[in-house]
Structure formats: structure tokens, C-alpha cells
């Protein structure tokens, strides 16, 4: 059995930031366990720029952003094991991991940070009818083939889902000489950033079809085409609007799911909306000393926010290890009327910090107001010119406000259109 103060599960942007922050705050022995062969997580294949505008004030590519944290890690005594998969986190924070070199590892940790990231929703979850031919893949898988392995995953492409990964891949494939025929989006609005719609689709004349989905795939061996159809307000395909589009590749960019199998197996309950663990203001889960941050907690759109959140978790873990973390009576947060969820889900009343409540809305709003209230009393409100589901929002609660709320109070956050 090895002993570490802190075990960080995952060496992507979340894990690296949490480890560094914990080290800065006096945690002596830290180990980062990463399942891939290099640190950096999904950033390694996100070769486009747009990362780091908030955190570094520069526009970096994914590998560059990750590279900066890798450099920072190199300058510390934090241990890193790559190509290492965590299999289990048992009661008492005993972490079981496995790799080729060490075989089976058992590590006793004082605290654990979960930073496993997220995965893409696969085709099966969509119930698209048709054949099981090859050529249907998630946009992320295609991205790995092109950017890491250096192979073309297809030549004539239809993309389903206008999340940012889908948009980015539309441009990427076009630059590599493929014909991207269209991007279909089930919703009446795109889940991606405007900038990506302009620079990844409009620049190349790729049509974005809103309220449209793929209803069938065709082809015996490799994909030969798809049938698309318009959808009604209930998102159901409208009969008679079907259209055949020939293509050899269907890329899916239909949502991300936090990768919480480890968390679930260790007995953590997940938030039904975020699919991540429920946490307090320092991102401590319902298991003492187990923290979570980054996309395993909630799917982010900007890596800069992942870093910010992970630093909170790293600081929280440091406080926990040093016995300085406040725990006790809590107040709870709840998103209502258009606010889909809030992270953190609970706040210690006696907390030593102001707390940002992060959330997403369920629809597009113009000139709306975010209202935070407790027991019918408004705590604060914030005007927003635009709110959309694709962008994470936040409001900040002052420590002084939190400490005055009664124990078990519920803080509601809602949209006023």
C-alpha cells in the first residue's frame, strides 16, 4: 500500500489544476493518475485555438493550454503516473489502480480529487434507425483519428449536432479536403458558440439545418447515406419531410456525459441534471475527502472555467487535508423556472469564502433577469442581455449573506424573462 495525502484521478486540465493548487496550498504528497499515455486529457486532440482567453489572456490551442500546466507540474514534486487506470475508490479513500509497469496499485489517500472528464453520447442512445455499417462515429473519435493518428475518417460528411465539437470538426474535415455536406441540429437553436458557427460553417458555406435530425442510416458495409427530416416542437420527425443525403461518414456531436462510473461504484449519488456528483462550495462530494471538478462534475464549454473550478477543488482538498475545511450545517441550492441546475448543490453556512453559483438555462432568453431568492425574499438579481443553454452563467453569493441564512434553507435561482 502506497500513501499519499492527495490522489488526483485524471491528468487533464481539471486534474492538473487541482493538483497544482493543492501543492501551492501546502499539500506535501500528491499523485496524479492518468489513464492515457500523456497528460492533457482531451485537450491533446483539440488543436484549434480559443483556449485560455480568460485564464492566460491569450488565444491558445488545446495542446498549448495543457502544455503550460504540464510545464508547471514538471517544476513540482507532484508524482504523475500515466497509462494508469483507476479501477476503484473504496471506503476510507483507498484507491486501486492498474498499469503495465507497477501492476496493481493500492494507494491510501487522505483526500481524492475526481477529475475523469466526460465522454460523448454515442449513437445507440439516439435510436437512429438503419444499418450497423461503419462510418458512424462521434465527432471526438473522428477528431482523434485526424489530429492524433493522422488518418482521414471519411470524405463526405454529415454532422448531427451543432455543439462546438461538431462545428470544429466541420471546419477540420473541410480543411483536410473532405466535403462536409451539412450540420443538422435537433433544436431550433445551435448549442455551439456564434464564433464557431461563423468561422467553422459560414466561412466554408456549410449549411446549418436547425430543427432537423437524422432518422435513418443507409449502407451495407460502409455508410452510403442518411435520411434527414425536420422535427416538430416536440422534437419528433415530421412525416413527409424526409430527405436522402449521400455521405460516407456521420459524425455525432449530440452531447457530453460526465464519466462517473467510478463515482457511482464508490456509492456517490449523482445529480439527475448534471450527471455529476453533488458537491459543496469547495467541490467536496457527499463522501468526506472526495472532491470532484471539471467535466466529471458538470460539462463546461470553456476550459478556463474548468481550471477555475479545479483550483477551488484543489484548495478545498488542501483545507481538508490540513483539517481547516469548514463542514457542518448547510444551505441548499436549486434551479427553478428556466434554470436547469446549480453547482454547487450545497454550501456550508459557516464557509470562509464568497461562493459563485454556476448554472445553465434551458432555453434562449433576451433581456432577462437572474433572480436569487430564499424563502420568498430576493437575495440578489442580475440583468442579462442574453442567456442561452450553450453558455454557463454564474452569480456570486457573499459569504456574509450565506452565513445569515438558516440551516437547510433552499436558495432558489430563476430566470425572469
Amino acid at each position: 500500500m502506497l500513501n499519499y495525502d492527495l490522489v488526483v484521478v485524471g491528468g487533464g486540465p481539471a486534474g492538473m489544476a487541482a493538483a497544482l493548487k493543492a501543492r501551492e496550498n501546502g499539500v506535501e504528497s500528491i499523485i496524479v493518475l492518468e489513464r492515457a499515455e500523456t497528460l492533457g486529457g482531451i485537450l491533446e486532440q483539440c488543436i484549434h485555438t480559443g483556449f485560455g482567453l480568460h485564464y492566460f489572456g491569450e488565444e491558445l490551442s488545446g495542446p498549448e493550454y495543457a502544455g503550460r500546466f504540464m510545464k508547471m507540474l514538471e517544476g513540482t514534486d507532484i508524482d504523475v503516473k500515466v497509462d494508469t487506470m483507476v479501477l476503484d475508490i473504496a471506503d476510507g479513500n483507498v484507491v486501486t489502480a492498474v498499469n503495465k509497469k507497477d501492476g496493481l496499485l493500492k494507494i491510501q489517500a487522505k483526500a481524492v480529487v475526481l477529475a475523469m472528464g466526460c465522454r460523448e453520447r454515442p449513437r445507440g442512445a439516439l435510436s437512429i434507425a438503419g444499418s450497423r455499417c461503419s462510418g458512424i462515429m462521434t465527432a471526438g473519435t473522428a477528431q482523434k483519428y485526424v489530429n492524433i493518428d493522422g488518418y482521414m475518417p471519411g470524405h463526405e460528411v454529415v454532422i448531427l449536432g451543432s455543439g462546438d465539437i461538431g462545428l470544429i470538426m466541420a471546419r477540420r474535415m473541410t480543411l483536410e479536403g473532405a466535403k462536409v455536406k451539412m450540420v443538422c441540429e435537433l433544436m431550433p437553436y445551435s448549442g455551439g458558440l456564434t464564433r464557431n458557427i461563423v468561422q467553422c460553417l459560414d466561412d466554408f458555406g456549410i449549411p446549418l439545418k436547425l430543427s432537423c435530425t437524422v432518422v435513418a442510416t443507409h449502407g451495407k458495409d460502409r455508410l452510403e447515406g442518411v435520411t434527414i427530416a425536420k422535427v416538430d416542437e416536440r422534437l419528433q420527425p415530421i412525416p413527409g419531410t424526409e430527405e436522402y443525403v449521400s455521405c460516407d461518414t456521420l459524425m455525432l456531436s449530440v452531447g457530453l456525459i460526465p464519466e462517473n462510473e467510478l463515482s457511482k461504484n464508490s456509492g456517490l449519488q449523482l445529480d439527475v441534471i448534471t450527471s455529476g456528483p453533488k458537491v459543496d462550495e469547495y467541490r467536496e462530494t457527499e463522501h468526506a475527502g472526495v472532491f470532484a471538478c471539471g467535466n466529471v462534475l458538470q460539462v463546461h464549454d470553456l476550459v478556463d472555467y474548468v481550471t477555475e473550478e479545479s483550483q477551488i477543488a484543489g484548495l478545498g482538498a488542501a483545507k481538508f487535508i490540513k483539517g481547516e475545511k469548514v463542514t457542518g450545517e448547510c444551505v441548499y441550492t436549486k434551479g427553478i423556472n428556466g434554470v436547469r441546475y446549480i453547482v454547487p448543490q450545497r454550501i456550508n453556512r459557516e464557509t470562509d469564502t464568497d461562493v459563485k453559483l454556476y448554472f445553465r438555462v434551458g432555453a434562449v432568453y433576451n433581456n432577462a433577469k437572474i433572480i436569487v431568492e430564499c424563502d420568498g425574499k430576493e437575495i440578489l438579481s442580475k440583468k442579462k442581455v442574453k442567456l442561452c443553454p450553450g453558455e454557463m452563467e454564474y452569480v456570486t453569493l457573499k459569504q456574509s449573506v450565506i452565513s445569515e441564512l438558516p440551516a437547510d434553507a433552499v436558495i432558489n435561482v430563476r430566470v425572469e424573462a
Binding site: I47, G150, K386
Partner: protein, 120 residues
Amino acid sequence: MEKRELVCVACPLGCPITVTFDADGNVESVTGNTCKRGDAYARTEVTNPTRMLTTTVKVEGGKAYVVPVKSANPIPKGMMFDCMEIINKASIKAPVNIGDVVVENILGTGVDIIATNYAE
């Protein structure tokens, strides 16, 4: 009078902007924007639109087959495919460091193509 419709990308608001040109093709007015940044974006976008270019380049003698690269600064939007052709023919010897120049002053734009990751 010629008009062009744009969606502003300066911030997440995504204002619909209309740029009107005079008879000589010069910008006469910018409307629809809600801030100064929108005005500036629209004027650049219709006169000299530029883009960051990111792709990969072949690695020689390394473990990885390709390494990601970017244009050190934005290049003219219309030159993206021409630049891709040059980059597709180029290669870089391993080991590669972030910032290594792969193609200098690509097509006379004054912009270098540089590596954005390590490659052993």
C-alpha cells in the same frame, strides 16, 4: 447600394450586423451592432477578414505521425486553402517543441506556421 449581413462574433451576444457600402465599395455604415467592438469587427470582416489556421503537419523520424500546428497570427481568410497546400507538403523532424517554426512566412503573409505540441 450594396449591403452585407454579418453575425458579430466579438462576444456571445451574436448581434446581426448590416454593413452598407457606397458606390466605390467603401463602408458607408455599420448598423445592428450594440457596441464599438461590433463596429470594429464588421469593418475588418468586410475589408480584410482574417482567421487563425490550425491543422497538423507530418513528423519525420518520430513516434507520432503528425503534430498540431497553428498560424502564429491570423492569416487572410481567403488564403486558408492555399496555406493548407503548403502545410500538407511540409514536415518537421522529431523531436518537436511547442513554438518550433514549421513554415516561415507562409505565402508571404509575414505569418509563421508553428508547432503547438511536443512530439518525440
